[in-house]
């Protein structure tokens, strides 16, 4: 469903974040991207839904060239791609309900939604999404009154509103403790398995990778250094991806 | 939420009829209750004051809405309409009492375009020039025995052939001893010193200048009786540039005004800051509420600071001008007093915000109040005090630009004169000077404060 071809991103400062990166993702996959901090994971995910414009190369989603589209067409592509963020990126001072409804903006009449009106059936849809993530009791709270795990679930609910075919998750559990991390990953897995949503997710913890990924891509300085099944990742591969110095720290994460 | 005892609805309705918002309060909808009360009370007070019966509709509708809110709204969501009504009233009445009329701005603007264009012809400097001048007095209209119109001084002689002038006459004014081949200005000054006529002529190769000048009726407009002969004066002058620029008269006043303004601001800030320090300590809750005596002092000092702070320095300046007379001094006193109050409050907040740890530690060593202040408090507060003082200096520079409006010295004093005299070029120049000085000082004070933090 997704084809990335020769993707290169050079930031204005001259940093080369991605270098000639190509890979394919097919329907229903749970693809995990791993790599050291600064290796270009966030950049890659943001190039896919064009939050960042790549310098060169193409991203093709279901036969449509994402890199060439703009305006309304681009927005239509985006609304089918959900995105989940490390820091949740909720509007802190808005209510949980509004935050979830925000996920529907791409579908709504731009005029009425600009004035702050949401149709009743959208509100119902939002409630359903919140129920599914079992945080419907917090619907009227302000987003910043929630704990990290709850905020991430609101983030997922927001994504659900988009009825996505593809979810990009940028280190969705990096600011959560291990127990919460598993619960959030389970929601993603559920979406992947039950709703047949393709997931591309960047992760740091090897146990999570081996538990949830169907395929893994390793990045180092913007270059693809590994592609294969999670089972193929061993100490050697890990050292290769994460660098010699990081060996000890990461090795413990391996056990 | 459901197990809270809800006040009986009928009683709430009754309460809300008696006093808007009261029923809501009893239903534990405090926010909407207080909002309704404030909206109703202010709307009622304003319409009562304004007196036009039609506006009473607004508090009435708010009152009805308040009842309806308690009867049928489950969640106090009905505040939008009263708010809109309230705003309608506030801006409706407000616009009228402040004589708000944008059209006046534009219609007058085109009328006063000349004035505005004058504002942009700044008057700071003029080419350096040397002058040569002479004058003669002349009687107008002619009496039976007019005195000769002839005057010589420093080798410059000015005389009028006809000795006196009636309106409509053409007189011949001759000046001798001027620079040759030079533009010469003639200037008719009426008996009260006003400019009645002016014209120009060019001197000949010998430095003699001759002008045939028609006497216009305008020269008599200021006289109570234009038939009574009076002494007028004809001034003749030449000026030629000698290279370079110098401050114009207005420029000189601006420099003096800005200098005064800065001096005022500096002195009042420094003196004010010194006096504010003890007040800051006396108004700090954490230092003063230990025993009843100091608590009373604390409350008195706080109250006085708040009262003085709420009176603008300009208002104090009027009073001090009356007491000690015109000049920068009353302005300085007013600014100082206001500075003491404002800084005292800010200082006290700094003191209240300090880390109590060191205070405890020093107290534990058996130190007295003064020692605690000196060794536990002062080291913590000096940077914040300095920063606040510089910030205050900024404000004082601005304030001292207006303190002169009421006679308190500084650029404002001159600015006010120029506004009264409608000397728009000077007004424009003063505006530029104020902006330049204040922006520059702002910039530096921000830089210094950044470094302090």
């Amino acid at each position: 469903m997704l084809k990335v071809e020769h993707l290169t991103k050079v930031y204005p400062g001259g940093t080369v974040a991605l270098k000639d990166l190509s890979f394919e993702v097919s329907d229903g996959e749970f693809l995990v991207i791993i790599g050291l901090s600064g290796s270009g994971k966030s950049t890659l995910l943001r190039c896919i839904n064009r939050l960042i414009d790549p310098t060169e190369g193409k991203v093709i989603l279901d036969g449509i060239d994402v890199t060439a589209s703009k305006g309304a067409e681009l927005r239509h592509i985006r609304r089918k791609i959900g995105m989940i963020f490390q820091h949740f990126n909720l509007v802190k001072r808005s209510s949980v309900l509004t935050n979830v409804l925000n996920g529907r903006l791409g579908y709504l009449n731009p005029w009425t939604s600009t004035l702050g009106f949401f149709p009743a059936d959208e509100k119902k849809r939002a409630m359903d999404a919140l129920k599914r993530l079992s945080i419907d009791d917090k619907v009227d709270s302000r987003a910043d009154a929630l704990s990290g795990g709850q905020q991430q679930r609101v983030g997922i609910a927001r994504t659900l509103m988009q009825e996505p075919t593809l979810i990009l998750a940028d280190e969705p559990v990096a600011s959560l403790d291990p127990v919460l991390a598993h619960s959030i990953m389970q929601y993603l897995e559920q979406l992947n398995k039950e709703d047949k949503v393709t997931v591309i997710c960047s992760l740091h913890y090897l146990d999570l990778i081996q538990r949830y990924a169907t395929r893994v891509i390793g990045l180092k300085d913007g270059v693809k250094v590994f592609e294969g099944s999670p089972a193929e990742i061993n100490r050697e591969k890990f050292k290769e991806i994460y660098g010699e110095e990081a060996q000890d720290v990461r090795a413990t994460a391996l056990e | 939420m459901t197990d809270k005892k809800i006040f009986p609805k009928s009683l709430s309705v009754l309460l809300s009829i008696i006093l808007p918002g009261l029923g809501q309060v009893f239903q534990r909808k405090y926010r909407s209750g207080i909002s309704f009360f404030i909206a109703f009370a202010t709307a009622f007070a304003v319409t009562l004051w304004y007196g036009k019966p039609i506006w009473f509709i607004i508090p009435a509708v708010i009152w009805i809405w308040n009842i309806w809110d308690i009867v049928s709204f489950p969640k106090g969501k009905g505040l939008v309409i009263p708010l809109l009504l309230w705003l309608l009233m506030a801006y409706g009445i407000g616009g009228q009492v402040t004589e708000f009329n944008l059209q006046a701005l534009f219609s007058n603007f085109s009328r006063s375009r000349d004035m505005v264009s004058q504002l942009f012809k700044f008057d700071f400097v003029q080419p350096k020039a040397e002058r040569i001048e002479g004058y003669t007095d002349i009687q107008s209209p002619c009496s039976d025995f007019p005195p000769a119109a002839d005057h010589e001084e420093n080798g410059v002689r000015v005389y009028v052939v006809q000795t006196c002038a009636n309106v409509g006459d053409v007189i011949t004014v001759i000046g001798e001893g001027f620079w040759p081949n030079q533009l010469t200005t003639f200037y008719w000054q009426n008996p009260i010193g006003g400019k009645a006529m002016a014209t120009e002529a060019t001197s000949d190769a010998n430095g003699k200048v001759t002008l045939e000048w028609k006497v216009l009726s305008i020269v008599h407009t200021t006289a109570p009786d234009p038939t009574i002969p009076q002494i007028h004066r004809i001034k003749v002058s030449q000026s030629r540039p000698i290279g370079g620029m110098e401050l114009s008269a207005v420029g000189g006043y601006i420099v003096q005004g800005i200098y005064e303004t800065l001096a005022l601001a500096l002195l009042s800030t420094i003196i004010g800051a010194i006096f504010a320090i003890p007040f800051g300590f006396l108004a700090a809750r954490n230092l003063m509420t230990a025993n009843p005596v100091s608590t009373v002092i604390y409350m008195i000092v706080r109250t006085v600071l708040n009262i003085v702070r709420s009176i603008e320095a300009l208002i104090m300046a009027i009073i001090f001008v009356i007491i000690v007379g015109l000049g920068p001094f009353p302005g300085m006193i007013a600014l100082t007093v206001h500075t003491v109050a404002a800084l005292g409050k800010l200082y006290s907040e700094v003191i209240e915000g300090i880390d109590p740890g060191p205070i405890e530690a020093i107290k534990a060593t058996g130190a007295n109040w003064l020692q605690v202040a000196r060794y536990a408090v002062i080291p913590q507060i000096v940077p914040a005090f300095t920063s606040l003082t510089i910030y205050r200096w900024d404000i004082n520079v601005r304030s001292s630009t207006i303190i002169g409006f009421v006679g308190g010295g500084g650029i404002g004093f001159f600015l006010w004169q120029w506004i009264v005299l409608q000397d728009f070029r000077a007004v424009g120049s003063a505006f530029v000077a104020i902006a330049v000085v204040v922006v520059i000082l702002d910039f530096f004070s921000a830089k210094i404060r950044e470094r302090l933090v």
């Binding site: - | 200098y259 002195l267 709420s310």
Partner: protein, 381 residues
């Protein structure tokens, strides 16, 4: 190098001190502080302060009452009425008379030491003054009264002797000054309200233009950014009162409108600066998140930017309203209108007790609004 560091530091301190001292000396020379004058004008200050501190709030209401007594001329021309026996009244001895008679007139229970004007009310309704007379310490008058022929009763109507006295009835009423002050205070508050509103409306677009994270993109954007910033800084350097002079020259002195415009402009400038700082400090995460859902630009601003800045904007605006009320208390000095105008008038006409009323009103209102605005702002965060 290390060795010299403390030395250099001390030198710098010394230098700063010297510069400061020189500046202070120069300042003292221009400002001419005259402590002798300050002390010698203390009695004057004391009397002014005394009056300022005793504001006029209430007056004792007094009633004007007419005291009159019928005088039948000649006697028996009309039946004489029994006169009242308490309260301010006139007692005639004898109670009637013929023309040219001189009878004794006493007035009792009148206000002591008050001047009253005695007059005849003739049978035809005409008035005839008799004389002005002062009551004594006990509030009585006692004088001979000559009966004039003109007072002869006609058509069964007798002449009356009458005067008016004002008697304080002990009721407290709101003094006219206080009413004027309340009037002016309302105008002042409205000036601040309208100026704050207008200023805020202008400030919002300006603040976005002056926010580096929004505007500073490309050559044009950077140009606009610096231009707007410079503009805001220049306007901010003027006291509202200084700007008010310009607008007073344009729309004419004597209307609060000039002050409102000036205040709006300075409000726009300083709020523009504060708002732009709020815009610059917003969290970009939500913008990214909402863009990623396929929302358009306006929706992104509406749902990711606006909720983040609204509380700050509101809080700054309310804070500024507070400041503006304070400034509007003086803006009337040049523009006219509002409490400042009234205050300066009263001071210029040396009515210090009345000025005291205005000062009291200013203190109370500024205080109340200070409190209210800080409470509202607390609840906004």
């Amino acid at each position: 190098m290390q060795k010299y560091k403390p030395f250099l530091k001390a030198l710098r301190k010394l230098l700063i001190t010297i510069v400061l001292v020189v500046l202070i000396i120069l300042s003292i020379r221009v400002t001419e502080p005259d402590l002798v004058k300050l002390v010698s004008s203390f009695p004057k200050a004391e009397s002014i302060m005394g009056q300022l501190l005793s504001p006029v709030l209430f007056d004792r209401e007094s009633e004007k009452i007419t005291v009159s007594q019928m005088v039948p001329v000649p006697c028996d021309s009309v039946p004489s009425l029994v006169s009242a026996d308490s309260g301010p009244r006139i007692i005639l001895d004898p109670p009637c008379g013929s023309p040219k008679d001189v009878i004794n007139l006493r007035g009792v229970e009148l206000p002591p030491n008050a001047e009253i004007s005695l007059r005849w009310i003739l049978p035809d309704g005409g008035l005839l003054s008799i004389k002005n007379i002062m009551t004594d310490d006990k509030g009585e008058i006692d004088m001979p009264l000559e009966i004039r022929p003109i007072t002869t009763a006609t058509d069964g109507k007798a002449a009356q002797i009458s005067f008016e006295v004002t008697l304080p009835n002990g009721k407290l009423v709101v003094a006219q000054t206080l009413k004027d002050v309340i009037d002016a205070m309302f105008v002042t508050i409205f000036m601040a309200l309208i100026a704050t509103t207008l200023g805020t409306i202008i400030a919002v677009p300006l603040s976005f233009l002056a926010a580096s994270n929004i505007t500073r993109r490309g050559a044009l954007g950077t140009g606009v950014y610096y231009l707007v910033r410079a503009f805001l800084n220049i306007i901010r350097s003027y006291e509202p009162l200084v700007l008010a002079t310009i607008f007073a020259m344009i729309v004419g002195f004597g209307s609060p409108f000039a002050g409102v415009i000036a205040l709006s402009i300075t409000t726009a400038a300083s709020l523009g600066k504060m708002f732009s700082e709020a815009v610059e400090s917003i969290d970009t995460g939500p913008i990214e998140a909402i863009t990623a859902t396929g929302a358009n630009r306006i929706q992104v601003v509406m749902y990711a930017v606006v909720p983040q800045i609204i509380p700050d904007f509101l809080s700054f605006t309310i804070y500024h309203w507070d400041i503006n009320v304070r400034i509007s208390t003086i803006i009337g000095f040049v523009g006219g209108g509002g409490i400042g105008y009234l205050l300066s008038q009263r001071i210029n006409t040396l009515q210090y007790s009345q000025a005291g009323t205005a000062l009291l009103a200013i203190i109370l209102v500024v205080w109340a609004l200070d409190f209210l605005s800080s409470e509202i702002r607390k609840s906004l965060v």
